[in-house]
Protein backbone atom coordinates (compact mmCIF):
# COMPACT_ATOMS: atom_id res chain seq x y z
CA UNK A 1 0.00 0.00 0.00
CA UNK A 2 2.75 2.43 1.02
CA UNK A 3 4.66 1.92 -2.25
CA UNK A 4 1.58 1.82 -4.46
CA UNK A 5 0.45 5.25 -3.28
CA UNK A 6 3.90 6.72 -2.59
CA UNK A 7 3.07 9.68 -4.86
CA UNK A 8 0.56 10.85 -2.25
CA UNK A 9 3.56 11.90 -0.16
CA UNK A 10 4.77 14.22 -2.94
CA UNK A 11 1.30 15.70 -3.42
CA UNK A 12 0.90 16.41 0.29
CA UNK A 13 4.35 17.93 0.67
CA UNK A 14 4.00 20.14 -2.41
CA UNK A 15 0.41 21.32 -1.97
CA UNK A 16 1.09 23.56 1.01
CA UNK A 17 4.35 24.86 -0.46
CA UNK A 18 2.78 25.77 -3.83
CA UNK A 19 -0.20 27.36 -2.06
CA UNK A 20 2.13 29.45 0.12
CA UNK A 21 4.24 30.62 -2.82
CA UNK A 22 1.10 31.74 -4.66
CA UNK A 23 -0.31 33.61 -1.68
CA UNK A 24 3.06 35.16 -0.82
CA UNK A 25 3.46 36.60 -4.32
CA UNK A 26 -0.28 37.25 -4.71
CA UNK A 27 -0.29 35.22 -7.93
CA UNK A 28 -3.61 34.01 -9.26
CA UNK A 29 -4.79 32.66 -12.59
CA UNK A 30 -8.24 33.98 -11.83
CA UNK A 31 -10.08 35.91 -9.12
CA UNK A 32 -13.59 35.89 -7.79
CA UNK A 33 -15.49 39.13 -7.27
CA UNK A 34 -18.18 38.53 -4.65
CA UNK A 35 -19.89 41.87 -5.25
CA UNK A 36 -20.36 40.99 -8.93
CA UNK A 37 -20.70 37.25 -8.22
CA UNK A 38 -18.37 36.40 -11.05
CA UNK A 39 -14.96 34.98 -11.80
CA UNK A 40 -12.52 36.91 -13.92
CA UNK A 41 -9.25 35.90 -15.60
CA UNK A 42 -7.99 39.49 -15.38
CA UNK A 43 -7.95 41.76 -12.32
CA UNK A 44 -10.79 44.30 -12.34
CA UNK A 45 -10.62 47.79 -10.80
CA UNK A 46 -11.66 47.71 -7.15
CA UNK A 47 -13.85 50.82 -7.58
CA UNK A 48 -16.08 48.95 -10.05
CA UNK A 49 -15.76 45.33 -8.94
CA UNK A 50 -15.13 45.54 -5.21
CA UNK A 51 -12.66 43.32 -3.37
CA UNK A 52 -11.43 40.13 -5.01
CA UNK A 53 -11.03 36.66 -3.48
CA UNK A 54 -7.80 34.94 -4.52
CA UNK A 55 -8.07 31.95 -2.15
CA UNK A 56 -9.94 29.80 -4.70
CA UNK A 57 -7.20 30.41 -7.27
CA UNK A 58 -4.44 29.58 -4.77
CA UNK A 59 -6.15 26.28 -3.92
CA UNK A 60 -6.69 25.46 -7.59
CA UNK A 61 -3.05 26.24 -8.45
CA UNK A 62 -1.78 24.15 -5.52
CA UNK A 63 -3.99 21.24 -6.58
CA UNK A 64 -3.06 21.29 -10.27
CA UNK A 65 0.70 21.80 -9.77
CA UNK A 66 1.00 19.24 -6.94
CA UNK A 67 -1.02 16.69 -8.89
CA UNK A 68 1.07 17.20 -12.02
CA UNK A 69 4.33 16.97 -10.08
CA UNK A 70 3.24 13.85 -8.19
CA UNK A 71 2.31 12.16 -11.47
CA UNK A 72 5.48 13.22 -13.30
CA UNK A 73 7.97 12.29 -10.59
CA UNK A 74 8.88 8.59 -10.88
CA UNK A 75 7.28 6.38 -8.25
CA UNK A 76 10.68 4.97 -7.28
CA UNK A 77 11.74 8.46 -6.18
CA UNK A 78 8.53 8.94 -4.25
CA UNK A 79 9.09 5.65 -2.43
CA UNK A 80 12.48 6.89 -1.25
CA UNK A 81 11.09 10.02 0.45
CA UNK A 82 11.52 9.53 4.20
CA UNK A 83 8.11 9.47 5.91
CA UNK A 84 9.22 12.15 8.36
CA UNK A 85 9.43 14.73 5.58
CA UNK A 86 5.68 14.46 5.04
CA UNK A 87 4.93 16.03 8.43
CA UNK A 88 8.09 18.11 8.86
CA UNK A 89 7.38 20.11 5.66
CA UNK A 90 3.93 21.31 6.84
CA UNK A 91 5.23 22.05 10.35
CA UNK A 92 7.89 24.34 8.83
CA UNK A 93 5.17 25.86 6.65
CA UNK A 94 2.99 26.57 9.69
CA UNK A 95 5.88 28.39 11.36
CA UNK A 96 6.54 30.39 8.19
CA UNK A 97 2.85 31.30 7.88
CA UNK A 98 2.65 32.41 11.52
CA UNK A 99 5.81 34.48 11.11
CA UNK A 100 4.59 36.06 7.87
CA UNK A 101 1.15 36.90 9.27
CA UNK A 102 2.52 38.46 12.46
CA UNK A 103 2.11 41.92 10.92
CA UNK A 104 -1.63 41.72 11.73
CA UNK A 105 -0.84 41.62 15.44
CA UNK A 106 2.36 43.67 15.73
CA UNK A 107 2.49 47.18 14.40
Amino acid sequence: MMNRFARFKIFSMLFGIVYSVFFYYNWSFFQYYPALQKFSRVPLPIADAGPAILWYAWLAAAFVISLAASLLIPRKWAEKIPPGWVWIAPVVLVLVILYYEKHWFIR
Binding site: F15, P34, I97
Partner: protein
Amino acid sequence: MIQILIMLHVLVAVTLLGAITHQAFSVMARAPVSAPLSFINRYRKVHSPTFTNTIIVLFLVQIVLGALLYPRYRLDVRSTLEDLQLRGANGLFEIKEHFAAVGLGLLPAYWLFWQAPLLPEYANTRKYLTWLLAFFVWWNFLVGEYLNNIKGLYP
Protein backbone atom coordinates in the same frame (compact mmCIF):
# COMPACT_ATOMS: atom_id res chain seq x y z
CA MET B 1 -29.62 30.59 3.00
CA ILE B 2 -26.49 32.02 4.57
CA GLN B 3 -27.75 31.15 8.06
CA ILE B 4 -28.33 27.54 7.00
CA LEU B 5 -24.83 27.34 5.57
CA ILE B 6 -23.33 28.76 8.77
CA MET B 7 -25.30 26.29 10.89
CA LEU B 8 -24.12 23.43 8.67
CA HIS B 9 -20.53 24.73 8.85
CA VAL B 10 -20.70 24.74 12.66
CA LEU B 11 -22.36 21.30 12.90
CA VAL B 12 -19.83 19.69 10.57
CA ALA B 13 -17.04 21.45 12.47
CA VAL B 14 -18.22 20.01 15.79
CA THR B 15 -18.44 16.51 14.31
CA LEU B 16 -14.99 16.85 12.76
CA LEU B 17 -13.61 18.21 16.03
CA GLY B 18 -14.93 15.19 17.92
CA ALA B 19 -13.55 12.69 15.43
CA ILE B 20 -10.08 14.23 15.04
CA THR B 21 -9.70 14.82 18.79
CA HIS B 22 -10.55 11.18 19.50
CA GLN B 23 -7.98 10.04 16.97
CA ALA B 24 -5.37 12.56 18.19
CA PHE B 25 -5.72 11.23 21.75
CA SER B 26 -5.65 7.62 20.56
CA VAL B 27 -2.19 8.01 18.98
CA MET B 28 -0.64 9.25 22.21
CA ALA B 29 1.54 6.74 24.06
CA ARG B 30 -0.64 3.91 25.28
CA ALA B 31 -1.31 3.61 28.98
CA PRO B 32 -0.11 0.34 30.56
CA VAL B 33 -2.74 -2.41 30.55
CA SER B 34 -2.76 -2.30 34.36
CA ALA B 35 -3.52 1.45 34.39
CA PRO B 36 -6.91 2.38 35.83
CA LEU B 37 -9.63 3.00 33.25
CA SER B 38 -9.87 6.74 33.75
CA PHE B 39 -12.01 8.95 31.51
CA ILE B 40 -8.94 9.94 29.46
CA ASN B 41 -7.82 6.32 29.05
CA ARG B 42 -11.29 5.30 27.92
CA TYR B 43 -11.37 8.30 25.56
CA ARG B 44 -8.07 7.18 24.02
CA LYS B 45 -9.06 3.54 23.75
CA VAL B 46 -10.87 3.86 20.44
CA HIS B 47 -10.20 1.99 17.22
CA SER B 48 -8.50 4.98 15.58
CA PRO B 49 -8.33 3.82 11.92
CA THR B 50 -12.13 3.82 11.69
CA PHE B 51 -12.10 7.61 12.06
CA THR B 52 -9.82 8.25 9.07
CA ASN B 53 -12.24 8.24 6.15
CA THR B 54 -14.87 10.11 8.17
CA ILE B 55 -12.34 12.81 9.05
CA ILE B 56 -11.30 13.17 5.39
CA VAL B 57 -14.91 13.47 4.17
CA LEU B 58 -15.79 15.96 6.93
CA PHE B 59 -12.68 18.04 6.19
CA LEU B 60 -13.59 18.18 2.49
CA VAL B 61 -17.19 19.13 3.30
CA GLN B 62 -15.87 21.89 5.58
CA ILE B 63 -13.68 23.26 2.80
CA VAL B 64 -16.66 23.37 0.43
CA LEU B 65 -18.90 25.03 3.04
CA GLY B 66 -16.16 27.50 3.92
CA ALA B 67 -15.65 28.31 0.24
CA LEU B 68 -19.39 28.95 -0.17
CA LEU B 69 -19.45 31.24 2.87
CA TYR B 70 -16.29 33.12 1.96
CA PRO B 71 -17.86 35.69 -0.44
CA ARG B 72 -20.28 36.85 2.26
CA TYR B 73 -17.44 37.04 4.78
CA ARG B 74 -15.29 39.05 2.34
CA LEU B 75 -18.03 41.58 1.67
CA ASP B 76 -19.71 41.99 5.05
CA VAL B 77 -17.56 40.71 7.90
CA ARG B 78 -14.09 41.66 6.71
CA SER B 79 -15.08 45.19 5.80
CA THR B 80 -16.73 45.57 9.22
CA LEU B 81 -13.56 44.34 10.93
CA GLU B 82 -11.54 46.83 8.89
CA ASP B 83 -13.92 49.64 9.81
CA LEU B 84 -13.58 48.71 13.48
CA GLN B 85 -9.80 48.47 13.05
CA LEU B 86 -9.81 44.91 14.40
CA ARG B 87 -6.63 43.95 12.58
CA GLY B 88 -5.97 40.98 14.85
CA ALA B 89 -9.34 39.42 13.99
CA ASN B 90 -8.58 39.78 10.28
CA GLY B 91 -5.17 38.22 10.85
CA LEU B 92 -6.70 35.25 12.65
CA PHE B 93 -8.96 34.64 9.66
CA GLU B 94 -6.05 34.92 7.22
CA ILE B 95 -4.23 32.21 9.19
CA LYS B 96 -7.44 30.14 9.29
CA GLU B 97 -7.68 30.08 5.48
CA HIS B 98 -3.99 29.15 5.14
CA PHE B 99 -4.30 26.32 7.69
CA ALA B 100 -7.40 25.02 5.89
CA ALA B 101 -5.37 24.91 2.67
CA VAL B 102 -2.34 23.20 4.20
CA GLY B 103 -4.67 20.70 5.93
CA LEU B 104 -6.44 20.01 2.66
CA GLY B 105 -3.15 19.16 1.01
CA LEU B 106 -2.18 16.82 3.85
CA LEU B 107 -5.25 14.60 3.43
CA PRO B 108 -3.76 12.17 0.85
CA ALA B 109 -0.68 11.50 3.01
CA TYR B 110 -2.83 11.28 6.14
CA TRP B 111 -5.04 8.69 4.39
CA LEU B 112 -1.97 6.76 3.19
CA PHE B 113 -0.35 6.47 6.61
CA TRP B 114 -3.61 5.30 8.21
CA GLN B 115 -4.08 2.41 5.80
CA ALA B 116 -3.96 -1.11 7.17
CA PRO B 117 -1.72 -2.72 8.15
CA LEU B 118 -0.60 0.06 10.50
CA LEU B 119 3.15 -0.49 10.34
CA PRO B 120 4.97 0.47 13.55
CA GLU B 121 7.77 2.21 11.60
CA TYR B 122 5.21 4.80 10.46
CA ALA B 123 3.67 5.32 13.89
CA ASN B 124 5.39 8.69 14.41
CA THR B 125 4.43 10.00 10.98
CA ARG B 126 0.84 8.87 11.58
CA LYS B 127 0.83 10.57 14.97
CA TYR B 128 2.27 13.89 13.82
CA LEU B 129 0.05 14.09 10.74
CA THR B 130 -2.98 13.47 12.96
CA TRP B 131 -1.86 16.08 15.49
CA LEU B 132 -1.24 18.61 12.72
CA LEU B 133 -4.72 18.08 11.31
CA ALA B 134 -6.17 18.28 14.83
CA PHE B 135 -4.31 21.57 15.38
CA PHE B 136 -5.71 23.01 12.13
CA VAL B 137 -9.24 21.86 12.94
CA TRP B 138 -9.11 23.30 16.48
CA TRP B 139 -7.61 26.60 15.29
CA ASN B 140 -10.17 27.00 12.54
CA PHE B 141 -13.06 26.10 14.82
CA LEU B 142 -12.04 28.55 17.56
CA VAL B 143 -11.31 31.37 15.11
CA GLY B 144 -14.58 30.72 13.27
CA GLU B 145 -16.55 30.84 16.51
CA TYR B 146 -14.69 33.98 17.65
CA LEU B 147 -15.48 35.77 14.39
CA ASN B 148 -19.06 34.54 14.41
CA ASN B 149 -19.57 35.97 17.89
CA ILE B 150 -17.44 39.07 17.47
CA LYS B 151 -20.39 41.47 17.49
CA GLY B 152 -21.21 40.31 21.00
CA LEU B 153 -17.61 40.49 22.15
CA TYR B 154 -17.00 44.14 21.23
CA PRO B 155 -19.49 46.83 22.28
